[in-house]
């Protein structure tokens, strides 16, 4: 039983300017971080991983995942299909960012902790965020009917948002009671001005990238639903 089809306006096909600008911005940040930002004396060049690791981590949790949760709540309240598309897009783009965190984290960790993985509270929480978003995607893949898929995803999105604080708290508590080896503490709070500029430029560039990827993914969701509508009309 399918839900009533809302009319969908096809997104026009034109060059994605936002994505182009975002890619240029990220490339510029890469150049600045690697070539024009001073090396931190205690940690060495590896400290620069911070600029892509921390920004990806922040965006994955506080932008992508938060957007997914909010869109989920709004969908259950307003039942607008567009909100479901926003949620699914935010989740998938968030997965890309989360993957970057998990790939860059151990590389940085090896240099400051001496070990690839030490169950650090934040990295472990990010690992679970990754699992949650994968589960969300698998759920969406397993439900065929659109209305039900949207409802189930929204429920999972909201429950996952409730889960995240518990994961953070549990892993943090676990860590503080099980001290792990730390050779160097990661970046001290006060960064010299040049590094701060790099950090905030990186944040802005990756945020722009997130917005571009989100819009692109949203377009795909719209097109997919449009194709499904047309398929149904033809079958009728």
């Amino acid at each position: 039983m399918t839900s009533a089809q809302e009319p969908i306006t096809p997104p026009p096909a034109r060059r994605d300017l936002l994505l182009g600008v975002a890619i240029v911005a990220v490339a510029a940040v890469y150049v600045r971080a690697l070539a024009f930002t001073p090396i931190e004396a205690r940690q060495g060049a590896a400290q620069k991983i911070l600029y892509i690791h921390a920004t990806a981590a922040f965006i994955a949790l506080y932008v992508a995942f938060a957007l997914m949760a909010i869109a989920s709540i709004l969908y259950l309240w307003l039942k607008d299909e567009k909100l479901d598309r926003v949620a699914e897009s935010a989740a998938e783009v968030g997965l890309a960012f989360t993957t970057v965190v998990l790939v860059t984290g151990p590389l940085w960790g090896k240099t400051i902790w001496g070990a690839w993985w030490t169950w650090d509270a934040r990295l472990t929480s990010t690992l679970f965020l990754w699992f949650i978003i994968v589960a969300y995607s698998l759920l969406r893949g397993a439900v065929e009917e659109r209305g039900r898929r949207a409802r189930y995803s929204a429920v999972l999105g909201i429950l996952a948002a409730l889960l995240v604080p518990f994961i953070h708290l549990s892993v943090y508590l676990f860590r503080t009671l099980h001290p792990m080896p730390i050779l160097l503490k990661p970046s001290a709070p006060s960064m010299p001005a040049e590094m701060q500029v790099t950090f905030f430029s990186a944040f802005a560039a990756f945020l722009l990238l997130f917005a571009a990827l989100l819009r692109s993914r949203y377009r795909i969701a719209t097109l997919r639903d449009l194709v499904a509508n047309r398929d149904q009309e033809l079958a009728a």
Partner: protein, 55 residues
């Protein structure tokens, strides 16, 4: 003594770029495929619909 770990930084930056680039490519390909499917569905070879003429 500043440790010599530039290789880690390079590896991290390269891998991150690969993840993002791979995702952009995936999105581009998927959008292209969907637009092609849409174009085929909207083509004149579509079977006649029940809608009244001029609708």
């Amino acid at each position: 003594m500043t440790p010599d770990n530039g290789a880690f930084a390079t590896a991290a930056y390269v891998l991150a770029a690969l993840v993002y680039a791979g995702y952009v490519v995936s999105l581009t390909l998927r959008e292209r495929r969907l637009r092609q499917r849409l174009a085929r569905l909207d083509s004149p070879s579509r079977p006649p619909s029940n809608r009244p003429a001029g609708a």
